[in-house]
């Protein structure tokens, strides 16, 4: 809708008979506003009434409507959302006012779809789910998150909300399948890879057991073989060994060396082999490391040339001190 059409439809609060008992309070920005934002007269009108309401501390259905009107224009306004929560808490105990919390979820669904990266909308959502709906929200929340991730599979807020939901209500079933579905759609989706790791951490401690690592290595290698230049499964593979030595996994090194000879020009396979060699810390392994650094800086990975030169120099110092 253009702003012109909107103005046609908008009735200022000052012209609404049901608001005639409220005296609006204009904003006083002083004589020299700095970086003033050229927002509409409609927005000014709504905010003037909001100020009046903060003063009278009215908590009613018409106030909920006004607050909704404002957050639709300015969803990042944490003051308005906070007051909205105060109103909701208050009318919860007031039997004369009926408000269905499903309406609140409806508002959050709509706003969450149109503005999926707004901190305050997600924040309010978490509050409503936790306080009013609880574990019963699980299915609906997962459905909503699927919709949002369908639009942008790397939306950081949506993943954060999903992690919060899982941690809060402990309903983990089907989660790995959900990740797999997203990885099939886009195997470069690093957020989905991170989520797989998150799910592993829910019932496994670091350092991971050999059984778990074997299973996950196979999973990651499947994607690597499908697309060797996809950085995400490589990063995931490397992360599996957090808190333990790579040297216990010589079979993996053997497989990686085979892949290295196949994937000429793949920087990722070379950098993980480099990690093995560095850990080994022998004369031979460090010399091999230097060759890999050279290969990476001179041929395979020129944009990170300076990084590989730096690696070369630090390994060379290690070698000399052996």
């Amino acid at each position: 809708m253009s702003s012109e059409e909107e103005s046609d439809l908008y009735t200022p609060y000052s012209e609404r008979p049901e608001w005639s008992d409220v005296t609006p309070i204009p904003q006083d920005d002083g004589p020299h506003p700095v970086c003033p934002i050229m927002y509409t007269d409609e927005f000014k009108d709504k905010m003037n009434y909001f100020r009046a309401i903060l003063k009278s501390k009215e908590k009613s259905l018409r106030v909920l409507k006004l607050l909704e009107d404002i957050v639709q224009d300015n969803p990042s306004n944490y003051t308005v959302w906070y007051y909205r929560r105060e109103v909701l808490k208050s009318i919860e105990n007031d039997t004369s006012i009926e408000y269905d919390i499903a309406d609140e979820m409806q508002l959050l669904n709509e706003m969450g779809e149109t503005d999926p990266k707004n901190y305050q909308i997600w924040n309010h959502r978490r509050f409503i789910v936790e306080k009013y709906i609880g574990a019963a929200s699980n299915e609906g929340e997962k459905l909503f998150l699927s919709d949002v991730l369908n639009e942008d599979a790397k939306n950081y807020h949506a993943w954060s909300h999903r992690q919060w939901l899982l941690k809060t209500f402990q309903q983990w079933q089907g989660e790995l399948e959900f990740v797999n579905k997203l990885l099939k759609l886009d195997h470069r989706n690093n957020s989905a890879w991170n989520h797989r790791f998150f799910v592993l951490l829910s019932n496994n401690q670091l350092p991971f057991s050999k059984e778990l690592i074997d299973r996950e290595v196979e999973f990651a290698l499947g994607y690597i073989k499908f697309s060797p230049n996809n950085e995400s499964p490589w990063s995931y593979l490397r992360g599996l060994f957090k808190g333990q030595s790579l040297l216990n996994y010589q079979d993996l090194l053997k497989q990686l060396l085979e892949l290295k000879s196949k994937y000429i020009g793949c920087s990722h396979v070379n950098s993980i082999i480099l990690d093995f060699y560095q850990e080994e810390n022998s004369k031979k392994s460090l010399e091999d490391s230097l060759n890999i650094c050279k290969l990476l800086s001179e041929t395979i990975d020129p944009i990170h040339k300076k990084y590989w030169e730096f690696k070369y120099n630090t390994i060379e110092i290690k070698l000399k001190s052996l």
Binding site: D28, V80, Y83
Partner: protein, 356 residues
């Protein structure tokens, strides 16, 4: 190759000072950050003198955002002290424009007047750039209020009362405010450090909260907080992998996460992280410079998040901060942990924070 045009960018910042178009409405609750981008942007371009005539007005305007403790009972609203982004509650401008450190308006302070640490942080930066000496900042009240922001259960910080947004962003702004006011009594550093390290992901960089995906923004917040606390040493065991992750974020410009496209703002978040670790030499700077230059809008003068999109003041400012790490001749040197020029920061802060 065209080169980055500082004159056009300075004009873009100057125009923004007088008016920001409607799409900036989403930035209204953090309005002080918008002023910071513009004022600090002019400062980095060595054009802060164009503000001379307006300087006092800007300072007064920033002070009009300060939430002061009540005169009658300072403890009554102590949790809400600090700077708000905007005058949402209808405070009278003139009453703020005074030298008082307490609020004697009988009706004030209302319980819904909420500060946010990012706004407090930006207020202190703007005042510093304009040469104000914090005489009208109620430091004690801000520090007392900050005490309520840190959660004892895990050391995380929120940005505002009643908002519940506990993460690394707000731990950083709380650290920056503590540093600038030279009073760390509000922050339990040990539990803050524990929280920071708990956000380290399997990829070797930091997520916004524990176990979230490694991301350039929170990685900056983690490293900057530790720098301000003087505790970068705790990163030593993780440094090798962290440097690898940071260096690998360079594509042409930097991206913020594995397998994402480059975005000019990460020339600050990633560039600053590397600079604080004393390793900006790992960067291919000509590519960063070229990426930023290609994102400068020919007619508007501002810098966009990527070439071919519309510029905005945040990407413009973060881009030139990014250029400063490579010693770009048109941009002043900055302290990455504060996002402030060394000129404005002054000798004291430079001595503490500069590792060059």
């Amino acid at each position: 190759m065209t080169t980055f045009n500082p004159e056009k960018l300075a004009k873009f910042f100057q125009r923004s000072l007088n008016a920001l178009p409607q799409p900036y409405l989403s930035g209204l609750p953090n309005h002080l950050s918008l002023i910071y981008f513009v004022v600090a942007g002019l400062d980095l371009l060595d054009k802060v003198d164009v503000l001379d005539a307006q300087k006092q007005e800007i300072i007064n305007y920033v002070y009009s955002r300060q939430i002061l403790p009540s005169n009658d009972n300072p403890e009554h609203n102590i949790e809400n002290c600090g700077f708000r982004g905007y005058n949402f509650i209808g405070e009278d401008f003139c009453k703020c424009d005074s030298n008082k450190l307490f609020n004697d308006n009988a009706e004030c302070p209302p319980e819904f007047d909420l500060p946010s640490t990012p706004n407090t942080y930006c207020a202190l930066l703007i005042l510093k750039i304009l040469g104000d000496n914090y005489e009208r900042v109620n430091k004690e009240a801000i520090i007392k209020s900050l005490k309520f922001r840190q959660r004892s259960i895990d050391g995380a910080c929120s940005g505002s009362p009643h908002v519940g947004d506990y993460d690394l962003r707000h731990l950083f702004t709380a650290s920056a405010v503590s540093f600038m006011l030279d009073d760390w009594s509000a922050i339990d550093k040990e539990s803050a450090i524990k929280y920071i390290l708990s956000c380290l992901s399997y990829e070797g960089a930091f997520g916004q909260t524990p176990k979230q995906e490694a991301h350039g923004g929170p990685t900056y917040c983690a490293i900057a907080s530790l720098t301000l606390m003087g505790r970068l040493d705790v990163l030593e065991p993780f440094k090798e992998q962290l440097l690898f992750w940071l260096a690998k974020k360079q594509i042409t410009g930097f991206s913020g996460r594995t397998n994402k496209d480059p975005d000019t703002c990460y020339s600050f978040w990633i560039g600053a992280s590397l600079t604080m670790l004393n390793r900006y030499d790992l960067v291919d700077f000509p590519s960063i410079d070229a990426f930023i230059t290609s994102a400068q809008h020919e007619a508007i003068g501002g810098i966009a998040k990527e070439p071919g999109t519309l510029p905005d003041i945040m990407h413009s400012y973060l881009s030139i901060e990014g250029l400063s790490f490579g010693n770009h001749p048109s941009v002043q040197q900055i302290l990455p942990a504060l996002g402030l020029s060394k000129r404005a920061a002054g000798k004291n802060w430079v001595d503490i924070l500069d590792n060059k």
